[in-house]
């Protein structure tokens, strides 16, 4: 998997949206908590951390390992935007 070029928060959102949709086999609305909805399990949480590190070239620190940070497209987007310092793209 290659590192994504992240120019805006919408880039991040698109990447997160695409990864969650392909991994879960269905599009998910941006705010949906995929764990609470029963679409994903604990193994997938670890997978999402690896995805974020791999795709966006960031390191998820131990104290950032909160499942809430990876539970939805919105959450992943906010987390990565915070790590990379990328602002809004509109």
């Amino acid at each position: 998997m290659s590192v994504a070029v992240v120019a805006s928060i919408e880039d991040i959102r698109e990447q997160a949206r695409a990864y969650l949709a392909s991994s879960l086999g269905q599009p998910v609305s941006d705010h949906l908590d995929v764990f609470a909805a029963g679409l994903a399990n604990s193994l997938f949480a670890a997978q999402l951390v690896l995805f974020v590190e791999d795709r966006f070239a960031v390191t998820v620190e131990d104290d950032e390992l909160e499942i809430a940070s990876f539970a939805s497209v919105d959450a992943v987007t906010a987390f990565v935007a915070g790590k990379t310092g990328v602002g809004g793209g509109h």
């Binding site: 392909s22 991994s23 399990n41 604990s42 193994l43 670890a46 951390v49 690896l50 131990d62 390992l65």
Partner: protein, 380 residues
């Protein structure tokens, strides 16, 4: 991309691992099974050979094996003795957890001891009533009244090499969620009791670990408080599943060796029904190895697919091991069931592979519920 042939270095390492296992491990396997123990001297020898936590990078004092070499080591060890392979499995899981989630002080203190074999690590997740379901565990870690540390209370059971371990990675529930702690064996408030006479991997010195208000300093917390489930547990189990997958391939090879040498000597290899069983072992062993190598490469590359790749490999390989061991006993008939027959041990050990580091049913649930959705079979 999974490689289809070994490099010269990997071939050399494979030969070295094979020679070591043939000399130092396989001849002891029946004794380990019979006496239900592994000598501490063997742990020291494994450490001297750089076989403990061999995945730890050289810059941290480890051997820094690549994924393929790591898989080959665990396959050879599984071929020689599943109990010794299980020692590597749990010790590596503990050491890997300290490497990944331990702070600088914890790493500085424990990695040298774990790598040198001075401290043997044991993974204490499983409980009598909740099994290895980390989300449901009941061992409690209450914050100490003076604010420095925790008091751990609960019971862990079927802890591999718990009888021999110097330090346990204990998973317990704090007010902020499941957390992981390094717990030295000599702390007040710990009682370790042997759990003998298990069906298989009888040399793996299982123990029950009872914690009764055992005080642990905050410095022994591994990873953030409340972060152990799912992140720490999954990270450790992913490596553990790779090890079990590789060890299971080793069992397939051992079963194949036993069955073919017996069938050749008896002249039964000419029978097509025997050939069918031999063929299944050969093909399952090759397929399992490919899955294990693929999982290893994913883990080393920190690929998002690594946890699932390890689950798939462990699921397939453990089933292949159970099938191969059963068929090897069948090929040999009564001779395969005799006391001291390696096939009898392999048969019992292989059954355990279907249970540890995530049972078949857990694996099936993970793969069946989630993996079919992502088109991964179509895309590699």
């Amino acid at each position: 991309m999974t490689q289809f042939s070994l490099t010269e270095d990997q071939l050399a390492r494979q030969g070295s691992f094979r020679g070591f296992v043939d000399r130092e491990v396989a001849p002891l396997a029946d004794r380990h099974d019979r006496e239900q123990r592994v000598d501490r001297e063997l742990v020291d020898l494994l450490a001297k050979e750089g076989m403990l936590a061999s995945q730890i990078p050289a810059e941290l004092g480890g051997r820094g094996l690549d994924a393929v070499s790591y898989a080959l080591l665990h396959e050879e060890m599984g071929r020689g003795c599943s109990s010794v392979r299980s020692l590597l499995t749990v010790h590596d899981m503990v050491t890997e957890t300290v490497r990944r989630f331990g702070g600088p002080q914890l790493r500085q203190r424990w990695l040298p001891q774990l790598l040198s074999g001075q401290a043997l690590g044991s993974f204490a997740l499983t409980e009598p009533d909740t099994g290895s379901d980390a989300a449901a565990l009941t061992t409690r870690a209450e914050p100490a009244p003076d604010g420095d540390g925790f008091h751990l209370t609960g019971v862990k059971r079927w802890i591999t090499f718990g009888q021999l371990a110097d330090v346990f990675l204990v998973f317990a529930r704090t007010p902020r969620g499941v957390s992981a702690f390094l717990v030295e064996r000599d702390r007040p408030g710990i009682v370790v009791r042997p759990v003998p006479d298990m069906l298989g991997t009888r040399g793996s010195m299982l123990a029950e670990v009872e914690l009764d208000g055992c005080r642990i300093p905050r410095a022994n917390l591994v990873g953030g408080q409340g972060r152990a489930h799912p992140f720490v547990v999954t990270h450790a189990l992913t490596l553990g599943r790779l090890s079990v997958a590789c060890g299971s391939v080793g069992i397939v090879r051992a079963a194949l060796d036993e069955a073919t040498s017996y069938a050749t000597a008896r002249g039964t290899l000419r029978h097509q029904l025997v050939q069918r069983m031999i063929a299944d072992m050969v093909v399952a062993g090759r397929a399992g190895r490919m899955l294990a190598l693929r999982a290893g490469e994913s883990i080393w590359a920190r690929s998002p697919g690594a946890p699932m790749a390890a689950t798939e490999a462990k699921y397939f390989c453990s089933r292949a091991a159970a099938d191969a061991a059963r068929d090897a006993v069948q090929v040999m008939g009564a001779a395969g069931c005799a006391p001291g027959a390696p096939t009898a041990r392999l048969y019992r050990d292989a059954k355990v592979m279907e249970i540890i580091e995530g049972s078949h049913e857990i694996s099936q649930s993970m793969i069946g519920m989630f993996r079919h959705r992502d088109g991964s079979l179509a895309h590699g």
